[in-house]
Every structure is written in structure tokens, then in C-alpha cells.
């Protein structure tokens, strides 16, 4: 599990950009150190990093590997309970970093929800961060498991469900990175037959870098995290965001350069195939966008933006919720001058779409299947948390079900009076 921020702009000469302080601070020799903490319960991944060219980038004090080194064994409960044990050491590091920040606004957590460390330790950290810094934002980049492959982690539904509960309750914003969609994009859109981790990672890092671009290149708007996500999230639970990026290229594919315009980019962003979340077509419910934020980078004429928006509105390319303000927000951002891009304009969409509930429903369905047979629960029972009862699992299911319900309810025009019909919410 990593508490890592991955951007591509870190080796920059001094004074080049103004917003680098957001994620970096300067060491005495004026090289930049990311404000990141790397955590894992087993050493493999971190060792890979430490053997890579980026090894010297990180503050070695911020790298924490469990002393046992055994990992969580793909068990949420194991990760969670190990988290309790290493709490002091981990939060020493986090407190130090937080104190070193001038104006701490929030935390960004990158993890997966299916494994043991990412889900279990991640959930633990998430809860503790919320307790310890109640006024700070917590944004997560959560990797959802690939549904196309038969996972080697059989307890994946349990892990996911338990993590989803924490994501729903303790995170302020979750950027969903669906491995299913990422793999499909890599193979279908980028024509990579067997996408490697690094290829997928580059997709992810791209999204992360663009979604923080407005923070790092300060301009008239979206200069803080809350400003970025607040208009996207109408109610506390509907904070799962999908992403889409265009134009998608890998290094191999530089040859095919398309002409990009603002309208072009915005239109592409609305196509499901560019979304980084795999959502099945649900004919029963009329899924729609709750909110959209497009971050457009490149040489953009501001007048083009409104023309494009108007065109999209006229053609009704985006279906919006019937009960709320249905508008696409556009943030124009600078591009890193250090990254050469063949395209003039590129865009990232952060969207809150009711469709994302399908992802949770899928987890719920799989969980129900496993739970019915009481399969693989003995591993969980080994931990204190589940030793006595499996209430935690049931509660999590309830929370996730409520989330799905709220997403479905948000598709209806009478969402405003939603609270009337529902029973009181439970914690």
C-alpha cells in the first residue's frame, strides 16, 4: 500500500512553476522532496521503487515497511489489524509531514480495494486520518479490481465491501480507477495486447497529474482541493467520481496525431469508452450525470469553451439529473512546459455519474454469493474484529446498499424529498 503521489513533473528546475509547493518541499540542497509517505506491509513493491531511478526522490524516513514483512495476505482483516499495531509509527510520519505543510488542506490516499494491504490498512488509515484531522479533506484514488480476469484473490468481494464502507463514510472524495476499464482502454483504445503494469500505471498517473493540475498551476479557479471537488459532490455519500481522459496515447503511438479542439475533447470525454470506469448498460434505471468538471489543458481559446458547451447542450450529449443544476464546469489549466505533447488540447473529465452504483452493485452481488456459502470467512475470523461476529460485514453491506440506493434515487426527479421516504440513516 502506498501513500504516494505520482506526478511526472517532479524533476523541475527551480522557479519554473509556482505551484510545486503543493506536493513538494525543498530540501537544503534545493532538490524537491515529495510530501509523500510510502507504506506497505511487504517489501516487494517498495523495493522495486527503491531500485528505480526515483529512489533518491523520496524521503527515506517516509518509507515504512512492516517489520514482519509478511504482508496482509490479501486479507482485509489482517491489513486492518496490522494497521492498529503500527499505528504509532505510521502516524509519527504522517504527523511530521502534516506539520511540515504550510496550509494543509487534505490528504490523498492511493490504494487498491481488493487486496489485503491496500484495503485493510488503507481502510484503517482512512478512519484514523478522519479521526485525527477531522477538518481536513481526504481524497482517495482507489483501484477497483478487474472483473474480466478471474482474480487470484478469492476474498476480493469481502475486501472490497469492507473498504467501500470506509470509502463511503470516511473519505470526502473517491476517484474510482477501475482496473477493468483501464485494461480495456489499454487493449481496445491503445491496442496493447497485454498491457503491463507500467502502461496501466502511466494511464493512472496521467489522470492524477491532470486532476491536480489546477492545484499545481494556480490560476483563477480551482486552486484548492475543496474548490475542485465541492461542486461535484452534492451530498456526503455521492462522492465517487469517474474519470475520463482524451486523447489517449502511449509513447509507442505518437505517430497518430489527431486534430484536437475544445469541442472535440469535450465530446470525446462524454463517450463511455473513454471512461476509466466499466459500467454495464442498465436499461432499468435512467442513469445520468450529477455533475461534470472538465479540466482542459493546452492552447485553448476561452471563447471556444462556451461555444462547445452550447453545442453539447444543444445536442443533449450529456444526460443530467433532473433535480439539480445541470451544467458542465470547465476549468482551463496550464500544461506542464516540460512535457511535450503532440496534441494541442487535452482534457480530463471528473464526473459524478449515478452509473457508478453498478460497480458497487457488482461487489454486493459477489459478496452475497460468497456470503451465502459462508466461504473463506475463517481467515477473517482469525482477527479480533471478526472473532465474535460478522456484524461488520453486514453493516458494510448495508452502507453500500444505501449508497447504491441513493445513487439510484438520484436519478429520480423527486430526489429532493428523498429523505422523507427513507428510514433514518444508520452509522
Amino acid at each position: 500500500m502506498e501513500y504516494l503521489l505520482k506526478g511526472r513533473w517532479k524533476i523541475m528546475p527551480r522557479r519554473a512553476q509556482t505551484g510545486k509547493d503543493v506536493f513538494f518541499y525543498q530540501a537544503d540542497d534545493e532538490h524537491y522532496i515529495p510530501r509523500s509517505v510510502l507504506l506497505d506491509l511487504e517489501p516487494r513493491v517498495i523495493h522495486t521503487i527503491m531500485n528505480s531511478p526515483y529512489a533518491k526522490l523520496y524521503n527515506p524516513e517516509n518509507i515504512y515497511m512492516s517489520k514482519q514483512g509478511g504482508g496482509a495476505g490479501n486479507n482485509w482483516a489482517a491489513g486492518f489489524s496490522q494497521g492498529e499495531r503500527i499505528y504509532d509509527e505510521v502516524f509519527d510520519i504522517i504527523d511530521r509531514e502534516a506539520d511540515g505543510s504550510d496550509s494543509l488542506e487534505g490528504f490523498v490516499l492511493c490504494h487498491s480495494i481488493a487486496g489485503g494491504t491496500g484495503s485493510g490498512l488503507g481502510s484503517y488509515i482512512l478512519e484514523r486520518l478522519n479521526d485525527r484531522f477531522p477538518k481536513k479533506l481526504v481524497q482517495t484514488y482507489s483501484v477497483f479490481p478487474n472483473q474480466d480476469e478471474i482474480s487470484d484473490v478469492v476474498v476480493q468481494p469481502y475486501n472490497s465491501l469492507l473498504t467501500l464502507k470506509r470509502l463511503t463514510q470516511s473519505a470526502d472524495c473517491v476517484v474510482v480507477l477501475d482496473n477493468t476499464a483501464l485494461n480495456r482502454i489499454a487493449s481496445d483504445r491503445l491496442h496493447i495486447t497485454n498491457p503491463t503494469f507500467s502502461q496501466i500505471n502511466s494511464l493512472v498517473s496521467n489522470i492524477m497529474s491532470v486532476s491536480t493540475a489546477t492545484l499545481r498551476y494556480p490560476s483563477y479557479m480551482n486552486n484548492d482541493l475543496i474548490g475542485l471537488i465541492a461542486p461535484l459532490i452534492p451530498t456526503p455519500r455521492l462522492h465517487f467520481l469517474m474519470t475520463g481522459f482524451t486523447p489517449l496515447t502511449t509513447d509507442q503511438e505518437v505517430a497518430s496525431v489527431r486534430k484536437t479542439t475544445v469541442l472535440d475533447v469535450m465530446r470525446r470525454l462524454l463517450q463511455p469508452k473513454n471512461m476509466m470506469v466499466s459500467t454495464p448498460l442498465d436499461r432499468n434505471t435512467q442513469h445520468c450525470y450529477i455533475s461534470i468538471l472538465n479540466i482542459i489543458q493546452g492552447e485553448v481559446d476561452p471563447t471556444q469553451v462556451h461555444k462547445s458547451l452550447q453545442r453539447i447542450r444543444e445536442r443533449k450529449m450529456a444526460q443530467f439529473i433532473p433535480w439539480g443544476p445541470a451544467s458542465i464546469q470547465v476549468a482551463l489549466s496550464k500544461k506542464s512546459p516540460y512535457i511535450q505533447s503532440a496534441h494541442r488540447v487535452s482534457g480530463l473529465m471528473l464526473a459524478n455519474h449515478t452509473n457508478i452504483s453498478a460497480l458497487f452493485e457488482r461487489t454486493l452481488k459477489q459478496y452475497d454469493k460468497l456470503r451465502k456459502r459462508e466461504a473463506f470467512l475463517e481467515q477473517f475470523r482469525k482477527e479480533n474484529m471478526f472473532a465474535e461476529s460478522l456484524d461488520e460485514l453486514d453493516q458494510s453491506r448495508e452502507v453500500v446498499q444505501l449508497l447504491v440506493d441513493e445513487y439510484v434515487a438520484a436519478t429520480n426527479p423527486d430526489y429532493l424529498s428523498w429523505g422523507l421516504k427513507q428510514g433514518p440513516m444508520e452509522t
Partner: protein
């Protein structure tokens, strides 16, 4: 005239010796007149030997033709002998023999008609004797007087008349009234033997008498002025002869008339024109007007006719008199008050014309004096007429130009002078007159041109006489931020004179030439002064014309005009006389372009490789030399000006001058402005200052400003304590220092303190009333709503009222951020500019206030209610009509979302369509690096544009958008009050009320924008309007 006495004595001696007349005899007087006339007005000193020889040969030929071969042979023989005489050989006076011969020829009268018989006998002897006699007599005589009496043709005769004219007296007696045979005995002057002889019998007939009489009168030049009063002819010995004289004397008019010869009058006219003072013929009165003297007539005309014939000279004489007096007055410049150099230059221009006129007159005088061809008064008039016409025009211009009150400033005088000249050149129809006027204009312009030259070249506006149209306001230093706008003042005084009269202001004419130049000129001047102040090395003045690197502006202009006027128009005129104007204009345009292009290439090659410092070093040293050179050049330029010929009517002088000056000045401006912009941008970081101001005041540096305003807002929400100018300044400087460590110090924040409690009270209630009456039906609801909300409201307002700062209705303190831009940058970032920026700052601050306030309402703050919620659910299932708490929370959340989206929509809209384009435009502007002038004006234009786009409306009081923002802020306050307060006590009505308010605000804005968009072209608002129309809230809750 010391010699005149001697002359008189000798004359008398000669007459008594030769003719034997008594001194008081009438014949004696006539003889004396004749002798003096020949003495004083002789033609024999500067003698042309060839002409004399030709005359004698001609005479001999004539004798031969008339069959008097002997005579002819004799004449030749005698002449030959005379010329061969040894006396003349070593004589110190050359050509003496010819002089004598020419005198003899002059005295002779129709030699062929002299009776043969008597002469035949006498002749062989007489010429010899006569020759000897004459020679002895005259040679000695002439030798004696020569040194004193050099009346060469070069010596202007006006000197004489100058001395004597005041006496203005002349002989009244017409010459040759009575016939006297002896005087008219022509070829041989009477000699000793002849004196005793009786009068020649050939003169008995009346015709002969008349001829002799007229010959005498033609050959006698009377001195009609001078101290010597012409004697009345004494009464004749014969009583009968006196009758006519007495009769004439009694008849009065005739008596008073002095008959002058035409020749004399012609010379008088010429002299008078040379020196217009009272003379024998023309007299002045007190007013300076000239008139023909009464009692003067020509022998061939009646007094009235001759008067009318001469009157045409009177007016020009008066004009000349005025002009000469003017020139005399302005020969030396006055010091206190200083005479405008323009006027001096004008005087010298006039002088040049006067010289030319003088020269012409001198030519005329020579022609008249030589008497080699027939000259009449009519001929003289014809010769003079073009000059007199020009004179009349000049005088008209002069009078117009100087028709000013005496207290008029030098500037007015100069401008008016130039204007009148320019106008008259354009108005004049005659090519010659136009030429004269153009030359005069050029002369007059020289002072302006030299001012411009030194201004362009050295950057100093040297205008001692304060005559230049532009003057430097000394109170504005180069370090002043108003420097660019206020340093140079275009003084264009509308003199009262012209306002009162309804005439066209002549100044307008010169303004046609100057006005396009002035903007450039001032910008050049300012650039140079700035550059000097910035310590930049001087920009080398590059040559205006190829090959004339050290030309002054005057010379270049004059050369250009000369080149344009003198050579090409002739061809085009010949080819297409009707299209001449077009053709010339085209050709001049073409020439201008061509020469400009040529120059620039020459310059590029010449100066391209030069090190500017080295150039400057070289440029500095020969400063003194250049002064001398210019001194030398003065006459050279004047002569250049004089070489300009006539200007055809087709050529527009305004255009000519403009096209001569403009490219030069413009090129200089380009050089300088490029340099200035480069210096400002590169060395003084104009762009950075601009960026800093934008970063802060337009919140371009989002992160830094976010820190500033979120700190400010949180302090305000905490009760507004500790907010004052100093702490805010420190805060801002601290924030900015992270971005621009060097420039943060220039920022300061001033906070408008609460003026007066009452005033504020009226502020908060009064305007809303006014507004509601006028435009906003929504305000009514607002007010109603406010009343119902008063209880909840009061808490917040009390807070703000207790604090000292005055809050706007948008909940923003009235901040003024001041950026004390260091010197060169403050030319661009002046106080008015910053004021505009501040308005925009307050606008975006109020936007930020709303969005920031909404964003800070976090869900986590509501989550604590979930606990209570649980209890509630367990405990009280009997809530009755009250909506469940959970639903209320939900609605609050959604209301927040609506408001947030609404305010973000506004915020993002202005960021995207106003602030960002402004940023891009300014960056582009600075990247293009145009002249400072352009930067300043364009920057201001862009700023105005963004202001009108954001604030929508010029009216300070009612800005609909501000109304909306105020309202949204109020809603935000209400919402946060509910959000952070006791949610369980919130009843549904309150929420519904807020929702309705929001819906009203939204609709109000939609209405306003729709009207605006449909009424006026405002593309930047269309997107916003559409979005807002599409997102009209459906918060109507049952």
C-alpha cells in the same frame, strides 16, 4: 556736396567763356541746366569703346549714304587722329579717349542735317580745334572730379535720393520753354570764333525750333530735388516773350505743376520701391499712406492722368513700408519678452523676398539708367506687376497673421503666423505667389523644425521663446506616474479674437500639418526623456536622407520639398494637366516610400554592425563642431529654400509638408519606441510588474490569493477582530512574497473604516428601497424575506456592525489594494488603472466570498447530527407534521449544492471569459512589444473591456450582478447559519424560504441576462445565459 559749389563756378565760367551769356540771363540758366545735366548724368565714364566705335562707324556710313563722302572720310580721319593722340597713351585713366568721344557723340544732334556749305569750310578746322579744346578742358575737368564723382552703375542712386528727398524741392520751371538757338547748335559746340557769330540760319523754321527745343529738353536732366532751388527764368529782355510766362503764372494749376521727365519718374518709382519713404513723387501722410505728390506731372500727360498712372504704386509702397518696418524691428531679437524665433525666421524669410525684389528693382534701374532701349512707365508697370501682386498677398497674410492683441502669447503668435501662411499658400492661385509663400512658410517653419530637430535628436525640447505648440509641463517630472499622459501639453489656445469673429481660425491650417505629427513627436520626446532617465545609451539618430548623415531636419525637409516640387511635376504636368494632382500625389507618395525604403536599407547596412556605445562615444565628441556646422548651414538652408521655384496649384502644400515630415518623424519614433520598450521590458521588467498586479488584484495567482482571502474570510467570520490595514498588508505581503519575493513590499492594503453608524444604516436600508422602486421586483421579495429572517439575521449583522470596517452588502470589506509600482512601471500602472483593478478585485473578492463560504460548509459538520438522528429514530416516532431531520439535512445539502453550482458558474464564467482573455491579451500585447504608447492605451482599453464585462454597467449605484451576488451572499450566510447551528430546530419553512429566495435570484439573473443579451451584442454573456437558463432551479417544494 562740397563739389557742387565748384561745379557751379566752373559751369558758369564755362558758359561765360563759351557763350558769353550774362549770369542772370535766361539763356544762361538754360545753358547751366544743360551743362549740369550733362555733368551729373553723364554716360561717358563707364564707356564701351566698341559701342562708341560702332556709333562713329555708323555715323560715317550714314554720311556715305547721304552722299557726304568727304565728311565721312573726314570724320574717320579725325577720329583716327584723335585716338592716336599721344596724350592718351600713358594717361592713367584708361579709355579716356572713348569717354570723350562718347560725350561728343552725345552732344551731337543729327549731324547729317547740319548745313553743308558753311560747315564745309569750317569743318576741317573745327573738329581738330574742338577736339583739342575739349580734350584739354574736359580731361582736366574729369580728372579733377573723378575721385569724388564715381557714379558707376553699381552705386545705387537711391543713396542720393535718401539724402536729399526730405527737402523734396525741385525746379518748378519746365525746361526749354524758350527757344535758344545757341544751346541747340549740335555737332560742334561753339568755339571761340563761333561765339561772335550770329545764330545759325537753319533754325529759323518753326519745325526746326520745335525740334531743337525738344532735343534740349530731352538731353537736359534737371535736378528736381536737392538744396539747389531751381531759378525762375528771369524775365526776358524782350517784353513780348514774357506775356506767355505771365499768363501761365496767373492761371494757377498749371503754375504749380512741375513737369518731370518720364525717365525721372521711372527712376523715382524704382527708388521709392527700393526704399519706401517720402520722396519727391510719393509722399506719406501721418498714417503712413502714400500718395502721389500734388503738382507733379509728366510732360506728356495731364496732372490727373499722370497721377492715376502713378497711383498703383502707392498702396504697395505703404505695404512695403510696413513690412520694412517690421523687418527692421525684428532684425535683432528682443530679450524681454523674447521674440518668438518663428517671427524672426519669418522676418528673415521676408527679407529674402525683399532682397529678391530689390535685386529685381536694381536690374530695372540699371536698364532705365542705361537708356539703351526704350523704357516707359507702362513697361515698368508691367515689370513690377507680378511683384506687386505678390506683395499685396504677402501684406494680406502679414496683417492677418499679426492681427492679434498685444498680450498674445508667443505661442499664439507663432501658431497664428504659421497658420495664416499655410492657409494662404493653400489658398493662393498663382504658381509664383504660391512659390513665394511656400518659401516664406518654409523660412518661418525653420524655427519649429529646428525645435523638432533638437527634440528628435537630443530629446530636449529647447523652446526659449515658448513658441512651440507643445510645451513641457515642468511640474510633472519624468519620475511621475502621470509623466506619459501629462508631461507634454499641447497648447492650442483658441484666441478670443477668432471666437468673436466668425472667421475660420487660421491655426487650423497649420494644425492639418502638425496634428498627425504631434502625437508621434510627443511620444518621441517622452521616449527620449524616459530613456535618458532610465540611463539607456542614446539612440543614434539615423540619417534621414542617404548621403546626408549630419543633415538637420530643416535641410532634409527643404531638400525633400525641393526635390518633389522642382523635378517631377513638370513631366506629369505636361502629360496630364488635369490629372496632375493625382499624379503628383502618387509620385510623391511613391517617392516617400522609395526613399524610406532606401534609407532603411542604407541604415541597416550602415549602423547594423555598430556598437551603440561606441557610436555614442563618437557621437558625443563632435558636439561643438556640429554647432558650428549648423551655424554655417543656416545660410545654406536659406539659399536652399530660395532655390525652390514656383508651386503649381495642383500640389497641396499641406500634403507636401506632411509627407516630408511624417516619415522622418515616424521612423525616429519607431527607433525610439522599440528601444524604449526593450529597455522597459528587459531591464525594468514592466511585464513582471504587470503580472504581479494581475496576480494579486485579478487573483491570477490563485493559490497565493486563496491563502489571503481565506484567511481574511475566516477572520471575518470569527467576528472580524484584528482586521485592519496593517495586518492585511502584512498578510498580503507575506502571501505575495512566496511568489514574488522582491515585489511584495510594494503592496499595501487599505481598509475603508466605517464612516458613520447612521450613514451605514441608511446605506443598508436606503439603497434597497431605491432599487426596489426602480428595477427589481425581486428586491421586494428580498426585503420581505429579510424581515422574516431578521431574527436569525441579526446575529450576523450585529457582528459586522460591531466591527470597525465597513462591509459591502456582499460581505466583503471595502479593500483597496495599492501597488506602489516602482518608477518606470508606474507609467503603466497608474493610479486610475489601479483603481480599476481594485474594482475588479472587489468584484472577484465578492465572488470568492460566496464560493468560499459555501465550500467551507462541509458535510462532516452535519454528520454529528447522524448520532442524534439515530436517537430520534428510536425515541420519537411521533414527530407529527415535522419533516424528518434527515430530510431537512438532505435539503440543506442540496440547497448548498445549488448555490455552489450557481456561484461557481458565475465565478468560472468570469474567470474563463473575462479574466483569462484579459491575461492572454495582455501577455500577447507585451510579447509583441509595441511602443509604450500602444502598451499603455491598449492595456487601458483591455482593462476597460474587462471592467465593463464583469461589472456590467457604468452606473456605480446599480450593478445587477452585484445585487445578485449580494443576495447570494446573504443566502450563503443564512445557509451557513442553519448548517452550523442547531439543525434540529430548523423548520421546513425556513428551508423552503431560502429555496424560494434562491430560485428568485436565479430567475432574476436569468431575466436580466436574457434581456441584456437580446438587447445588445454581448457574446461573452451568451454562454452564461444559456447555462443559467438551463439550470433554472426546480426547488419548488410541496
Amino acid at each position: 556736396m562740397t563739389n557742387s559749389g565748384k561745379f557751379d563756378a566752373l559751369t558758369k565760367q564755362l558758359i561765360t567763356h563759351l557763350l558769353g551769356f550774362k549770369e542772370d540771363e535766361e539763356n544762361f540758366i538754360r545753358s547751366e541746366q544743360f551743362v549740369l545735366s550733362n555733368l551729373l548724368y553723364h554716360h561717358c565714364l563707364a564707356v564701351n569703346s566698341h559701342a562708341v566705335r560702332r556709333s562713329i562707324d555708323g555715323l560715317a556710313l550714314k554720311f556715305t549714304v547721304h552722299g557726304q563722302h568727304q565728311r565721312a572720310a573726314r570724320l574717320k580721319d579725325l577720329t583716327h587722329k584723335f585716338l592716336a593722340s599721344p596724350i592718351f597713351k600713358d594717361h592713367h585713366e584708361t579709355d579716356l579717349e572713348w569717354s570723350l568721344l562718347s560725350l561728343l557723340l552725345h552732344l551731337s544732334n543729327s549731324p547729317t542735317q547740319v548745313p553743308l556749305e558753311e560747315g564745309e569750310v569750317q569743318l576741317p578746322q573745327t573738329p581738330l580745334d574742338e577736339g583739342r579744346q575739349e580734350e584739354l578742358d574736359w580731361a582736366a575737368y574729369l580728372r579733377e572730379d573723378d575721385p569724388d564723382y564715381v557714379l558707376g552703375p553699381e552705386e545705387p542712386l537711391s543713396d542720393w535720393s535718401d539724402d536729399d528727398d526730405c527737402e523734396g524741392c525741385a525746379g518748378k520751371d519746365p525746361p526749354g520753354e524758350q527757344l535758344y538757338t545757341h544751346s541747340s547748335t549740335p555737332p560742334s559746340l561753339p568755339e571761340d570764333p563761333l561765339t561772335a557769330k550770329p545764330p545759325l540760319p537753319g533754325l529759323k523754321t518753326l519745325e526746326q525750333l520745335h525740334r531743337a527745343k525738344s532735343w534740349l529738353s530731352a538731353k537736359t536732366h534737371l535736378q528736381y530735388w536737392g538744396p539747389k532751388q531751381p531759378q525762375e527764368l528771369p524775365a526776358s529782355d524782350h517784353p513780348m516773350a514774357n506775356i506767355a510766362k505771365l499768363c501761365e503764372g496767373g492761371s494757377g494749376i498749371h503754375r504749380q505743376c512741375q513737369q518731370l521727365s518720364e525717365w525721372a519718374v521711372m527712376r523715382e518709382v524704382v527708388w521709392s520701391l527700393m526704399c519706401p519713404v517720402s520722396s519727391h513723387v510719393f509722399v506719406t501722410n501721418q498714417k503712413g499712406q502714400f500718395s502721389v505728390r500734388r503738382g507733379i506731372t509728366l510732360s506728356s500727360l495731364t496732372p490727373a492722368a499722370s497721377r492715376s498712372m502713378l497711383e498703383y504704386v502707392c498702396e504697395p509702397l505703404m505695404h512695403l513700408h510696413v513690412l520694412d518696418a517690421f523687418m527692421h524691428n525684428h532684425k535683432t531679437p528682443r530679450l524681454e519678452p523674447p521674440t518668438p524665433f518663428t517671427v524672426l525666421a519669418y522676418a528673415s524669410g521676408l527679407w529674402h523676398w525683399r532682397q529678391a525684389f530689390h535685386h529685381h528693382l536694381k536690374g530695372l534701374e540699371d536698364a532705365i539708367k542705361d537708356q539703351e532701349s526704350t523704357h516707359t512707365l507702362l513697361w515698368l508697370e508691367g515689370e513690377l506687376l507680378p511683384w506687386l501682386r505678390t506683395l499685396a498677398v504677402l501684406f494680406g497674410v502679414h496683417m492677418k497673421a499679426f492681427a492679434l492683441p498685444p498680450e498674445a502669447s508667443p505661442r499664439t503668435v507663432a501658431m497664428r503666423l504659421l497658420g495664416s501662411l499655410c492657409e494662404s499658400v493653400e489658398g493662393a492661385g498663382e504658381a509664383g505667389v504660391r512659390g513665394v509663400l511656400l518659401r516664406l512658410l518654409l523660412h518661418t517653419l525653420r524655427s519649429y523644425l529646428s525645435i523638432m530637430h533638437s527634440w528628435l535628436m537630443h530629446g530636449s525640447l529647447l523652446d526659449h521663446a515658448q513658441e512651440f505648440i507643445v510645451h513641457r509641463d515642468e511640474s510633472v517630472t519624468v519620475y511621475d506616474e502621470r509623466f506619459w499622459h501629462k508631461a507634454f501639453i499641447l497648447s492650442f489656445e483658441n484666441d478670443d479674437l477668432n471666437q468673436n469673429r466668425d472667421t475660420r481660425n487660421p491655426v487650423m491650417a497649420i494644425m492639418k500639418i502638425l496634428s498627425p505629427l504631434l502625437a508621434i513627436l510627443t511620444s518621441v520626446g517622452k521616449s527620449q526623456e524616459l530613456l535618458a532617465a532610465l540611463g539607456a545609451p542614446p539612440v543614434a539618430l539615423q540619417s534621414h536622407l542617404k548621403g546626408h548623415t549630419d543633415c538637420s531636419l530643416e535641410e532634409v525637409v527643404v531638400r525633400y520639398i525641393k526635390g518633389t516640387v522642382c523635378s517631377p511635376p513638370k513631366e506629369s504636368e505636361r502629360e496630364l494637366p488635369e490629372d496632375s494632382e493625382r499624379g503628383q500625389e502618387d509620385s510623391t507618395k511613391g517617392k516617400v516610400k522609395e526613399s524610406a525604403a532606401r534609407n532603411s536599407t542604407v541604415l541597416a547596412s550602415e549602423y547594423g554592425g555598430l556598437d551603440p556605445l561606441m557610436w555614442a562615444a563618437f557621437n558625443e565628441t563632435p558636439q561643438d563642431n556640429s554647432v558650428k556646422e549648423t551655424q554655417l548651414n543656416v545660410d545654406h538652408i536659406a539659399s536652399l529654400i530660395e532655390e525652390i521655384g514656383d508651386i503649381p496649384t495642383g500640389v497641396s502644400v499641406v500634403f507636401l509638408l506632411t509627407s516630408a515630415l511624417q516619415p522622418l518623424v515616424r521612423r525616429r519614433q519607431e527607433e525610439l519606441s522599440t528601444k524604449l520598450t526593450r529597455v522597459l521590458l528587459e531591464e525594468h521588467q514592466l511585464a513582471i510588474h504587470c503580472q504581479v498586479v494581475r496576480s494579486v488584484l485579478l487573483m491570477e495567482a490563485g493559490d497565493v490569493m486563496h491563502e489571503f482571502y481565506s484567511h481574511l474570510f475566516s477572520k471575518m467570520d470569527a467576528g472580524g477582530e484584528g482586521i485592519d490595514s496593517i495586518s492585511l498588508t502584512l498578510l498580503l505581503q507575506y502571501c505575495v512574497a512566496r511568489l514574488y519575493p522582491d515585489l511584495a513590499q510594494f503592496f499595501s492594503v487599505s481598509l475603508l473604516l466605517q464612516r458613520n453608524a447612521e450613514e451605514q444604516a441608511s446605506d443598508s436600508s436606503q439603497p434597497s428601497l431605491v432599487k426596489s422602486d426602480r428595477v427589481l421586483p425581486i428586491e421586494e421579495h428580498e426585503r420581505l424575506g429579510k424581515r422574516t429572517q431578521k431574527i436569525h439575521d441579526s446575529k450576523h449583522f450585529q457582528k459586522s456592525a460591531s466591527s470597525k470596517m465597513s462591509l459591502t452588502r456582499a460581505g466583503v470589506p471595502e479593500l483597496q489594494i495599492c501597488y506602489q509600482a516602482p518608477w518606470p512601471a508606474n507609467l503603466l500602472l497608474t493610479e486610475p488603472v489601479l483603481k480599476k483593478f481594485n474594482k475588479l478585485f472587489n468584484f472577484s473578492l465578492s465572488l470568492k466570498r460566496v464560493t468560499n463560504g459555501l465550500e467551507r460548509l462541509k458535510f462532516k459538520e452535519l454528520s454529528s447530527w447522524n448520532l442524534i438522528l439515530g436517537h430520534e429514530a428510536e425515541e420519537s416516532s411521533t414527530e407529527g407534521p415535522q419533516m424528518p431531520l434527515q430530510s431537512r439535512l438532505h435539503r440543506l445539502q442540496l440547497l448548498r449544492q445549488w448555490l455552489l453550482c450557481f456561484s461557481r458558474e458565475l465565478h468560472d464564467h468570469f474567470a474563463n471569459t473575462a479574466f483569462l482573455p484579459f491575461y492572454q491579451a495582455v501577455e500577447q500585447l507585451i510579447l509583441a512589444a509595441p511602443s509604450l504608447n500602444t502598451i499603455i492605451t491598449e492595456h487601458e482599453k483591455l482593462l476597460n473591456k474587462i471592467s465593463s464585462e464583469c461589472l456590467m454597467g457604468r452606473d456605480e449605484k446599480i450593478l445587477p450582478l452585484q445585487v445578485v451576488l449580494n443576495k447570494v451572499f446573504w443566502l450563503t450566510q443564512q445557509l451557513s447559519h442553519l448548517w452550523l447551528g442547531d439543525v434540529s430546530r430548523v423548520n421546513v419553512e425556513e428551508i423552503t424560504n431560502l429555496e424560494t429566495h434562491y430560485a428568485q435570484v436565479h430567475r432574476y439573473l436569468v431575466n436580466f441576462l436574457t434581456t441584456l443579451v437580446s438587447h445588445s451584442f454581448s457574446p461573452h454573456l451568451e454562454g452564461l445565459t444559456r447555462t443559467l437558463v438551463d439550470t433554472v432551479p426546480l426547488l419548488t417544494h410541496q
